[in-house]
Symmetry: C2
Subunit: 215 residues, 2 copies
DNA sequence: TCGGTAAGCTGACGGCATGACAGGACAGGT
DNA sequence: ACCTGTCCTGTCATGCCGTCAGCTTACCGA
């Protein structure tokens, strides 16, 4: 189940092969950061990796296939996002803390992986189920946890009955993802990073608990 | 200043030429809805329009250039979004109404233009200033109006001093745009359209006024 | 009616990326 | 030194890109 790495034609990749493969992924990753997705060519990736296009096709069916691979790796790392919510309190000052740390962690993760996340977002929006699944995998931990929190608060009567926990959580998570992927844009819009984060945290807190945070 | 339509090589386009040009734009628009942006080829667009690739290059420098054109047209239509906020009240029941109508109008606009908006979003996220400007143009009316509203409420002491109106408005608008572009995704996530909208409206209201709406 | 002129369109072409294959280079074991 | 399976690349057919010269069409003034 460890998922032996295989070439397109079915051979098992050895140590050297895996290194080459990883190098291609790394170079593709760099290219995605520096040029539009539409313009990323196999030949450029291969050149940058000091190898030939044919080698690329030995490990990946096409650019999209390689992108999916990178995205999977990132999604695996994204499991850390769960920690931002596990066992946290949403009451009083601790609630404000939780909210702030969620925003912080989320934006940082997004910033670290912005290039690949852009492509994943596009793929998902275009209806590609594979990309959609990866996006889910990253967002689900946060989303589920938020949904549960809202449900609990609702059970205690602290949140209105007519709130749909799933819809609320989904909206909040979508907001976080959107703001994260347009962080640069906000700066152009005259919004400073240190203004953005607390306000986002406020909005998250408002959405989850229905109340202003205690600071 | 009416912006005479010109071909790439500087000729003035006549009636026939403009028709061809528009047909190409329409076909490109369709293609964007039905296949991934990365895979849209000039030759396919031309074929679909019943013309030759060379004709395409007479009117547009490349696919991206044509996409920008479509986006501009859409942005112009997007001016209607301003009406969702002009002269509206954010107090009491009227405030809840405003919030609901904003969400409604926004999601509808996004759904109507989802294909092109995806590409605009990608371009903006990739740092392309032209796409970013178009995205701004669409979102700005809503954003500015929301910013003003928050400022006013803040001046009256109804919203905390430490809220940054621009950051709050920007976050809300980003959320609307994000949820809008993943509307289909929400359904897969088990969230129904009729649940989503009121919850979004609630979040908008909470963000703008800091209070739960009066229903 | 008849050119003249500019708009409009396309066939054809060099250039480049794609994707497949066969064969050569290389590392590890005997 | 030799063998074996892994690994890489040169080469090729195919197809799209982007450009140009040149042909057709529409319009207009004489």
């Amino acid at each position: 189940m460890t998922g032996q790495v295989r070439t397109v034609d079915g051979r098992v990749a050895g140590r050297r092969g895996q290194a080459t493969r990883q190098k291609l992924l790394d170079c593709l990753s760099e290219m995605l950061s520096s040029s539009p997705y539409r313009d990323v060519k196999v030949i450029d990736v291969a050149r940058r990796a000091g190898t030939s296009p044919a080698t690329f096709y030995q490990y990946f069916p096409d650019v999209e296939g390689a992108v999916l691979e990178i995205a999977e790796q990132m999604a695996a790392e994204g499991a850390e996002l769960t920690q931002l919510l596990e066992g946290r309190s949403w009451v009083g000052k601790a609630g404000w803390q939780t909210s702030q740390e969620l925003v912080e962690g989320f934006l940082d993760f997004w910033r670290k992986n912005d290039a690949i996340l852009r492509v994943v977002d596009l793929g998902a929006a275009e209806g590609d189920k594979r990309f959609y699944k990866i996006r889910m995998k990253i967002l689900n931990s946060v989303n589920n946890s938020l949904t549960d929190t809202v449900k609990e608060l609702q059970a205690k009567g602290k949140v209105d009955k007519d709130v749909s926990p799933a819809a609320m959580a989904g909206s909040i998570v979508a907001m976080l993802a959107a703001v994260a992927s347009h962080q640069r844009g906000f700066q152009t819009w005259g919004v400073k990073q240190h203004e953005l984060r607390p306000n986002l945290a406020m909005l998250v807190h408002l959405g989850v608990t229905g109340k202003k945070p205690t600071k």
